[in-house]
Subunit: 154 residues, 2 copies
DNA sequence: TTACGTGCAAAGCGTTTGCAAGAGG
DNA sequence: CCTCTTGCAAACGCTTTGCACGTAA
């Protein structure tokens, strides 16, 4: 009988990967980042540790990381998707519309259950604050008019 | 002296457009929708009122609407951007991960000021609730594994 | 009549995928 | 060794843009 490998398609959330130079470089970059990074940023940083690294490998690593829940997608309205390590735990972001950077925001208002329509099953949420960061507010840096305003001024 | 038209590049928020059949069709579609629509959905619906309508015109109308603040971008993590009329006022959405539809959610937790880092200037926010809608929850419709999970399970 | 709006098709961009070569275990 | 991973380039899907024609004013 042909030896059927034990490795079924068991989608174990654990590292089901080989440890390669590229994967390691990408992990390091995400681990050291103090903010969510775009795939291009990950590529550029990781190339320092893994010369010749291709963008496709970055996308594949990010995709796998998402599947394993070790990486989170941070999708801010009107901006390139960014990624960060999931180990940071539950938190949200502040999007500076002036310099287009993202900042970590500690805490969470929680209690969105009361907003949930009757019969609906709430399993998660996503919150992005926006405005100007401390530096831009102080410098009176103007917000570009073109900004794709997905949020209300509330 | 050449008659300089009064129309300077004054980005007046008011209708600076000609009223065309296409623009009207697109406006109607957005006005009658009970949920945010993708550009493709807008195209298909509006073509009933404006035969031959092209996707480029839809994008141009949506872009202009955003600039005039008559249209809002609804950007849900991991999904195609959708658009809705700004006149709906401030509200948020519930994203059903099972059927991938968006639902309007009345109310807003407000008070995000206390989450805002010191020195930051908060001018807006974006909130998306996710889980299963009433229909999918009742039918036990499973959430696709592939879902690009941008939110925490909290 | 004049300039803006439209449709078509091509160009752009970010992301994904096929495939042969390379490397981990 | 055998299989998974990688890099390259082509493929893709969504969005934008160039251009000539149509049309509102």
């Amino acid at each position: 009988m042909p030896k059927k490998p034990a490795r079924t398609t068991t989608a174990s959330a654990s590292a089901t990967h080989r440890s390669t130079q590229q994967r390691g470089a990408i992990d390091q970059v995400l681990a050291r980042a103090d903010r969510p990074l775009t795939p291009q940023e990950v590529l550029q940083s990781a190339q320092q540790y893994a010369p010749g690294l291709g963008i496709a490998t970055v996308y594949r690593a990010l995709r796998d990381g998402m599947a394993e829940h070790t990486v989170h997608l941070v999708d801010v309205p009107g901006a390139t998707p960014r990624y960060e390590r999931a180990s940071l735990g539950h938190h949200h972001h502040f999007h500076c519309l002036a310099c287009d950077r993202l900042f970590e925001v500690a805490g969470c208002p929680g209690d969105f259950a009361r907003l949930t329509p009757s019969g609906f099953e709430l399993t998660g949420h996503d919150l992005v604050l926006m405005g100007r960061c401390a530096a831009c507010a102080k410098a009176r840096t103007p917000v570009p008019v073109d900004v794709r305003c997905g949020a209300h001024k509330h």
